[in-house]
């Protein structure tokens, strides 16, 4: 088996058994990066030298028996909104184009302790605001399944890097679907854990009450191993939870007998692509065959999720991004006249269009006279959405549906119509509003050969149940195949509109 065909946990096992080494695996990844990175542009920063040193050190620790975890020695890619000490961390923004943190994100530290070899930082939508990775200040990432298409976003670089074999696994962050949607578009597995399960310390905030770091991987087994490694209580994050049983690998069993699965009818209405719909419903059939009890129900309030999300996330973002002012770090405008003008020019030049749009939206909904009508109302709707899920979970163990209404759109087709782009988040954002865990995994391909994602949503802290269900489905589905096996374009895309 070629090294790059292995999953992260398979590779760790091979290294442990002495069949290969962390250094050899890393060199293979770099070869792949050299061959493909120019085409896909998954990374903002690649730290070849640092990674090699790390790989050598980790290899020694593995050989001496100090390290033996399920991910020891495996090369990983980190989304560029997570701080790593001494490594450029930009959030794919000009305003942080020169920012090198003096500290590392807690999730990254957890990975390093487990023997991870960090390749570099992956491209993303600027400050995680976007669904396509096209709002990056450093250029768009391309979907390895079809380079005319976006990889999704905002963790598009992480998803594409896994699909392209430019890393074995990655970390992403999910505020409204930013792990799950690119995972779906790139045919990989991505999980957004329960809010508070993974420390947010060192994750550069977008919407603090919604942000959550999570695993992105080749399969469900890897996903469980990564989650097990990064989940921890962190005294530096007030919203981090303690006392959770994090032995997620133990949940990997093929068993859904008697499991109650609810399919929200409201997720299968207008706007859902037919191919996506049939692939997702087919997945539910497979789970039914495996012994799950599957039925339809009305989740309600689905239409309110998008305005609620864009009010709360933008409000928090407008405040979170105030610290980028040219005073302490990051970009500062060249010529300015006084403090106010420095702020204005620095921020006008440093932020991209989508970020500015959300800062303005957020500032507006928090401003006096509008606070009650927008922000406070959004918080109330958020509570109602949580309640709708609570009701659903009193009847079902798992909620099953699509991740996104369509497969990956073509590059350049989304940004011109932000409202349409925002509507693409309809199935993912309610999960963040309710703080729930959810996993996205491949369940088929559309007529053009692009991957389709299946979303499974669980109640708070039921990651084990979620992983067990996903694992059972994955085993029944069989191998999904990899983007890098594709030669050139998967299939001819329909003619672009207007051409």
């Amino acid at each position: 088996m070629a090294l790059l065909d292995m999953t992260a946990t398979e590779l760790a096992a091979a290294i442990k058994e002495g069949k290969t080494t962390a250094v050899d695996a890393l060199n293979e990844v770099f070869e792949r990066i050299e061959a493909k990175e120019d085409t896909y542009h998954c990374y903002v920063t690649i730290d070849k030298e640092g990674a090699l040193k790390q790989a050598e050190a980790v290899q020694r620790q593995i050989e001496s028996g100090e390290l033996s975890g399920a991910l020891a020695g495996v090369p990983v890619a980190i989304k560029d909104n997570m701080c790593i000490k001494g490594m450029l961390t930009t959030c794919s923004s000009k305003i942080l184009g020169n920012f090198v943190p003096t500290y590392s994100a807690e999730a990254v530290i957890n990975l390093q302790k487990a023997g991870a070899v960090i390749i570099g930082k992956t491209n993303m939508d600027e400050f995680a605001m976007g669904s396509t990775t096209e709002t990056s200040a450093f250029g768009a990432t391309k979907n390895p399944w079809n380079t005319d298409c976006v990889p999704g976003g905002s963790s598009g670089g992480s998803a594409a890097a896994i699909a392209a074999g430019e890393c074995f696994y990655a970390l992403g962050s999910d505020t409204g679907g930013s792990i799950r949607q690119p995972a779906a578009y790139c045919g990989i597995v991505g999980m957004k854990p329960t809010y508070g399960l993974v420390s947010r310390y060192g994750l550069i905030a977008y919407g603090s009450s919604l942000d959550q770091i999570g695993p992105m991987s080749q399969d469900v087994t890897d996903c469980a191993a990564i989650l097990q490694t990064i989940a921890s209580h962190d005294a530096k994050d007030s919203t981090s939870v303690s006392t959770q049983d994090t032995d997620y690998m133990s949940a990997l069993e093929e068993d859904v007998k008697g499991l109650r699965i609810g399919i929200p009818k409201d997720y299968f209405g207008e706007g859902l692509d037919e191919d996506v719909k049939s692939a997702v419903l087919h997945a539910s059939e497979i789970l039914r065959e495996k012994g799950a009890i599957v039925e339809e129900f009305n989740l309600s309030l689905v239409d309110y999720a998008i305005p609620t999300y864009y009010t709360i996330a933008a409000a928090e973002a407008s405040s979170n991004l105030e610290r980028f002012d040219g005073i302490k770090y990051g970009y500062r405008t060249k010529d300015f006249n006084g403090l106010h003008n420095m702020y204005k020019k620095t921020r006008s030049e440093g932020f991209g269009e989508e970020v500015k749009r959300r800062i303005m939206l957020g500032s507006f909904v928090l401003s006096s006279g509008y606070y009650d009508a927008y922000y406070l109302k959004a918080l109330k709707v958020k509570a109602l959405i949580k309640k709708a899920f609570d009701d659903a979970f009193s009847k079902y163990d798992i909620i099953l549906g699509p991740v996104a209404p369509t497969t990956a759109p073509q590059l350049g087709s989304s940004l011109s119509d932000p409202i349409k782009m925002y509507l693409g988040d309809i199935y993912t954002i309610a999960v963040n509003l309710a703080g729930l865990p959810a996993i996205s995994l491949p369940c088929g391909k559309d007529r053009n050969g692009l991957p389709i994602g299946l979303q499974l949503i669980g109640d708070c802290f039921t990651e084990k149940k979620l992983l067990r269900t996903a694992y059972t489905y994955e085993k029944a589905r069989g191998a999904f195949g990899k983007a890098m096996e594709q030669t050139g374009k998967a299939a001819a895309l329909p003619e672009k509109e207007g051409m």
Binding site: F99, D237, A315
Partner: protein
Amino acid sequence: MGKEYETVIGLEVHVELATKTKIFCGCSTEFGKEPNSHTCPVCTGMPGSLPVLNRQVLEYAIAVGLATNCDITRYGKFDRKNYFYPDNPQNYQISQLYLPICRNGGVEIETKEGGKKTVGIHEIHMEEDAGKLIHDEWEDCTLVDYNRSGVPLIEIVSEPDMRSAEEVIAYLEKLRLIIQYLGASDCKLQEGSMRADVNLSVREAGSQEFGTRTEMKNLNSFKAITRAIEGEKERQIDLLEEGRKVIQETRRWDDAKGESYAMRSKEDAQDYRYFPDPDLVPIVVSDEMLDEIRAKQPEFRTEKMKRYKEEYNIPDYDIEIITGEKRMADIFEETVAVCNQPKKVSNWLMGETLRLMKEKEVDAADLRFSPENLAKLIELNDTGVINNTVAKEVFEVMFDSDVSPEKYVEEHGLKSVNDEGALRKTIEAVIAENPQSVEDYRSGKEKAIGFLVGQTMKAMKGKADPAMVNKILKELL
């Protein structure tokens, strides 16, 4: 005849809490260190850093709230106050707007007329202090020191219940003592650990409506507060008398010039876009926590004054002064506990201590000598090892550097000479050298003996017991 006016005053008092570490990170709150040496990613607003509440801040805020008869908010939150300024590294201050920790309290003050009145407390909230901007004239640039960024503050907002500068000072004194007694802050106005902003309006006597108020900032002493209140009252009355309007604005007091100037008007007021800080979990105050803090509340001044009267039998005036500073009261009680001589301890505090504090401009909070050493000094003096003059000399050294009086007396050879033979010899010599004074004394000028005592003490380098000198002199004369 001119109209009669009533002044209406409310205060916003900021108090820096005496915690060892900052409100949302583990950095030290120590004052006066090298710029930016007490900083971390949290208090410098680095991307990805997160605040975690220092529990001691919450406990102090609740303790102050309980001592000022407030309702304690059992489910509270922190809010972000958004504004851009370089001393504020996140460009938002974490404060409390919607659910402050304490509400609806009040303290009783004594009025000029000798009566009592309650000044209501609208709310007390917790917040973080900002850093400090330092303008470098030489390089023509502004530098930021974030050592103070994140130092915990409480803001105590009163109701507009005060009517004169005297009432304001009485209210501030009351707050200062309560907070000092709690150990929650040293409350020094000059050093900024207690800051008061004065909201003042005037209205015609008897009117029920409030006038337009102004807010006065930069008041660094009780004197400045009094002067600023008088000045602002007159300014507003003058405006009204001239048929003009008071503008709602923030003014800055210049104590050197004795006048204020407008900083910003209400029209310039920023929209702070307050909203609950999503990085901090709600503050839940349990019954257990409240009970625990209540149990730890110290004896406050009123109770202490009552107890001193009963237990120590010292003058009311002494009690008033000693209990007027927490540190004084502590020294008093601890010294008495060692030597059991309340009157003598009180005398040392009321006499030499107050004198030296004034002379050397030392705050009571900064008194350094230990109760043990004061007790020892009293014992040395009582047993005649040192005389009063030497005792005062030793005390001054103790006041500066808390030396052990025993050791100091020993090292400097200050023990009284009680060897009568040696003393007698010296006195004989003094008598021989000063025939005029001897003559004066013998001719009935009793005062002349004072000069001879002085000469003897001088010859003995102050180490003789004056009583014994007197006795021998009289014998020999």
